[in-house]
């Protein structure tokens, strides 16, 4: 089905020369790594699959702008991060539309967690710790969430995060810091009872 064996640059030249199937080699070669970061960012398989497909579609359309001195894996990785960011933003937008209001005050958010009746001990006992973490992650903005995932789970440096998000390294550093700060406040109940 695929004439495997070409390196990424050869495959790209073949695609731009009219051999569409050569792009299939790139898709097969890099789909797993894209799925990994997409899943970590979106948190579910369905969205991650969408992100992977969308990333390869965007990559194909922009393939003429690919510079030969770059590596295709890094280039398509950044595209996938942008696609995942778009997915998270759209999801947050839909969630926000469904809510009456959302309090962004950290103290109020902490109270909100407590008011849900899900105290730390109960959370631990009922196995809802993961739900609290997920809730804490969802309290982040899309940029903060993406920056934190790339930093905490993908071990990307500040410069790589900035390049993936299309922002300056200092802005990426600030995004990671804000994410960590918010997560610590959200997860404070766990620390008290640890």
């Amino acid at each position: 089905m695929f004439r495997m064996g070409k390196n990424d640059h050869d495959a790209i030249r073949a695609v731009l020369g009219g051999d569409k199937d050569a792009y299939g080699e790139l898709v097969v070669r890099h789909s797993a790594s894209l799925f990994r970061v997409a899943f970590r960012m979106t948190g579910n398989e369905a969205d991650a699959d969408d992100v992977v497909q969308d990333a390869f579609l965007r990559g194909y359309r922009k393939l003429e702008s690919f510079e030969s001195r770059a590596t295709f894996s890094t280039w398509i990785y950044r595209i996938a991060v942008r696609c995942a960011l778009d997915k998270i933003e759209s999801r947050k937008g839909m969630q926000a539309a469904g809510r009456v209001a959302e309090d962004n005050d950290p103290e109020a958010q902490e109270v909100q967690v407590m008011d849900e009746g899900a105290g730390p001990e109960r959370l631990l006992l009922s196995g809802e710790l993961g739900a609290l973490r997920q809730s804490a992650m969802q309290a982040l903005t899309a940029t903060e969430q993406t920056a934190f995932v790339l930093r905490h789970m993908e071990d990307r440096t500040t410069e790589e995060i900035g390049a993936a998000l299309g922002i300056q390294p200092n802005a990426a550093k600030q995004a990671v810091y804000r994410a960590v700060h918010k997560l610590r406040q959200r997860l404070a109940p766990l620390r008290v009872n640890a």
Partner: protein
Amino acid sequence: MRQADVMNDLQHLSEEDMVLLAYGEGEDGARRHAADCASCAAALDALRGDLSQVERVDPPLRDEAYGVQVWQTIAGSLPKYRPAHQPVRRRWLSPVWLRGLSYAAACAVLAGGAFYAGRMWEQARKQPVTAVNQQPQAKPAHQKQPIVVVVLGDHLDRSERLLVELKHADADSTDLATPLRDEARTLLAANRICRHDTDGNEDPALATALDHLDQLLSEMANQPGGLNGAAIARLQNEMSTDGLLFEVRVLRTRIGSGIPEQPAGGGSQQGGTI
């Protein structure tokens, strides 16, 4: 110890610095401070403990078959790239480009035709006006050159006075002979300049008058033996000073008032008396 190091010892790490240190980044000074400062080390440990609560997500494994599946999903919606070696010239020959070029050419032809028609129409309008006025294309000198008009008017004025003196000069008297001759010589040079300037302006009346004036002034200036009474009498008779005086007056009046040249005889009522 350097001053920067002293400052690092004195200033505790910010939370932002600690986040960088927790992930293996951060500056050497911050790292040294965290190693030396007990409170910052404790805070850094607390931060690392909190971060460890956020477990790394382990995605479901995906093998090569997943990539094949992704490719089969998207392959149908990908257009084929045009080969890079395709001549660019063919793009210019595409129907879109040809249509645009044909529109541009049509607009250019229309604009050029309108310009040419306008020029022709303008010239056609000028010709009847010229014919009605029976004027040559060049205007008379007194209409297009104000300085020449002033000089010519002055010359005609002086010539008129000379002709009046010549007309009324007593043939038996020699008192006026020398002044008339001197004035004639002065006017002769000026007359030739005026005659030269009027060449080509197609004002026949002016040219004729200046020619006649030139002959008379030459006779007066170059009369053998000087301008005596006999010579004055002969000039009065032979050179038709009356007619010349009339011509000069008509011209001076016309130039002074800016009246264009009239057909022959048009000014016969003027200057009847001197």
